[in-house]
Subunit: 411 residues, 2 copies
């Protein structure tokens, strides 16, 4: 069974707002085994709404429309659907009374315009609104189901839970959709695909999608099965096979971020961390401390954004800065070792590089970054990276490398 | 002239991701007087993509498709459009070479699959990708324009700026839509609206929308006029009247972020800054160093995530931590003064608080934060704040307060 979600509202076609209701609706539908295959956004325009609804009913088993049920002149969903399906709109006394009651309860008289919220399509079932005045509507058309829902998220969510989900459960084919996300670090998208495609392409179910963002690749696996247990079993099997080819490049299978995974290991092993940052300017520490409870393992850090700071706070010798420069393997190593030592932590991570857009040279171009990991009682490890992209991407990738070095060390 | 935006990607039909590219595209199109009238999302499915493109070309003057240009088997936009429009796909040597060059520059061999990114539709112009490997495509079909753009936001934005906007400017006719965003700090949304609504509600054009995010309120003014000069004049008039009621709560009228505004003042006045952070864990420094060139005025910082770090690195006396605690006005003051002094900066900013979710008490609840500003030769200033919301909101609002204190001091 598949679905289309139509969001109605001119504000959703401007540069500032997105239809977020569809995320809630999708999650709810997936739990019932219903796949969302199309989404559309139209403005407060009768012809556009009618058109979108007709088209959706021509291809989807279930059509959910959110928005346009308010009392004002630009709330056009009811009349647009009436026109599209050639059904009359009737004034429903029961709804009118309940809207009037809501106003009386606040000591107000119902404005005339709210009357239009009591107009119901011929043949539609009324979906009571537990959180507002606009009721929803549920109707069948040529074997398809169309539901009109309010656009206010709280009203939509309450109505879905109380009115829509029970009705959909009767349709539910028995299938359940379960999604799992494998997060991968240290490889490019094309490398991941070369390794993983021979495995996942042998499966239609679970279906696999690959997604790239700077410093992280995600494989989204989605299984459709009769029960949640069966879906999970199918996901487990594919995950195990993907682990065989991707190995420890996979850092998370349950939604955890890289900083959460690193934090979990540090917590588990009772070890502590300090960081020294140059070009990332605090981003590494900021990511580490996004995790609630990070004060258990994170001692602190130094942002050495000048040579003076590197000398005074991190014991980098002036002679080294003059011979090798601030962006060098040696400087990164000393930064990591000093910050570890000075904060009395078990691990020290450091980053020194050129984030751009300026500051690059032929020998040391923008994107060149050194990342170092120091550990008490062990030799330090330094890697040299050349990241593509703009300042924010270079910074993000550098922190990703640093966190991944630590993850591999302590996992 | 109107437009439809089609976002391609199965992940955009799941419960986790929205098509955010359309916000950027809409803003850009509006500036050219082009209205977005429809948005659609389809999955990585050849028939669905072809169908959506055909339908869009039947009703919109301009169709922008984002996503599905990657190198993997589920990147289907090119072949779907080829099918829909009955055009051939040709291998373009120039693109192939440039993709190979990108890989070589990173010391890698181009994987075979990336070859498909060099396939170009018959009759299409190539849109160079300044930020990635997948080029875009621009073509005419029955008097309409179709542009294929990458889904990665940084790539899409760079390509739009360099390749698409210049081409669209030739089409732009008649009205120009110009948007101006007034950014406001230090007031709640309802306070801003009480002060501003009596002013902006007297204007139909520019139209005004109010948008709230943690720590920042924005007024979006949009003027439609025959020329950009006229639109700007209308925006100037309304802006002047809003400035009279909102005063220096407005920190930006041209898109600058608060950290950019602060950086501009520091640069202009040749003064320097260092920061000491506790609960924000590096976020303040990270925001300051997002700004290219911030090394001119930012000396560095200390993240004192433990009491030891506060004592050793920031000279906070143990006795003070024992009597007043790490989250106190006195501790914040000493942190700001010490970091300023130790980094030999003109200004020192510090933040100490309880970001949550745990760690709060009745006397010092989650959300309690002290922010201090030290300046050479002046008394330090400390403010106490109680921010609502979850950990990330508390952290963001605390950095907003810190940056705003400095802005008001030096502006």
């Amino acid at each position: 069974m598949n679905a289309e979600i139509i969001a109605v509202g001119s504000e959703l076609l401007g540069p500032h707002r997105l239809d977020t209701n569809s995320l809630f609706l999708t999650e709810q539908l997936n739990r019932l085994g219903i796949e969302v295959r199309w989404k559309a956004v139209v403005g407060d325009n009768e012809a556009d709404i009618a058109d979108a609804v007709m088209r959706a009913l021509s291809r989807a088993d279930l059509v959910l429309v959110s928005g346009g049920l308010g009392p004002t002149a630009d709330d056009l969903t009811r009349q647009s659907v009436a026109r599209a399906l050639d059904r009359r709109l009737n004034l429903e006394e029961r709804i009118l009374e309940s809207i009037e009651r809501r106003f009386r309860a606040r000591g107000l008289k119902m404005p005339e315009i709210n009357q239009r919220q009591a107009m119901v399509l011929e043949g539609a079932e009324i979906l009571d609104n537990p959180a507002g005045s606009a009721p929803g509507q549920w109707l069948r058309q040529d074997g398809r189901v169309l539901a009109l829902l309010p656009g206010v998220p709280g009203e939509l969510e309450a109505m879905f839970a109380q009115q829509v989900r029970p009705r959909l459960e009767k349709f539910a084919t028995g299938q359940v959709l379960v999604t799992r996300v494998l997060k991968i670090v240290g490889l490019f998208e094309s490398q991941v695909d070369e390794m993983a495609a021979p495995v996942y392409s042998r499966y239609d179910n679970p279906a696999t999608t690959i997604l790239a963002s700077p410093g992280e690749i995600q494989l989204h696996l989605r299984a459709a099965s009769a029960t949640e247990a069966q879906a999970c079993e199918a996901l487990n099997e594919l995950t195990r096979r993907l682990e065989l080819v991707l190995g420890d490049h996979i850092f998370s299978e349950d939604g955890q971020t890289l900083e959460e995974v690193v934090g979990m290991y540090l917590s588990m092993k009772g070890r502590t961390l300090a960081v020294a940052e140059s070009c990332t300017g605090g981003l590494l520490a900021e990511r580490i401390t996004r995790v609630p409870g990070s004060s258990r393992y994170f001692r602190g850090g130094v942002i050495s954004y000048s040579n003076e700071a590197k000398m005074r706070w991190l014991d980098v010798p002036r002679s080294l800065l003059e011979t090798c420069g601030a962006v060098s393997s040696e400087t990164a190593r000393i930064m990591a070792e000093s910050v570890r030592h000075r904060f009395e932590a078990d691990f020290g991570l450091s980053i020194s590089g050129i984030a751009g857009p300026s500051g690059g040279t032929a020998a040391k171009p923008v994107g060149l970054v050194y990342v170092a990991l120091a550990e008490v009682g062990r030799h330090s490890e330094v890697v040299e990276k050349r990241y593509p992209g703009a300042r924010d991407r270079v910074r993000l990738q550098a922190t990703q490398t640093a966190l991944d070095m630590l993850r591999r060390r302590i996992k």
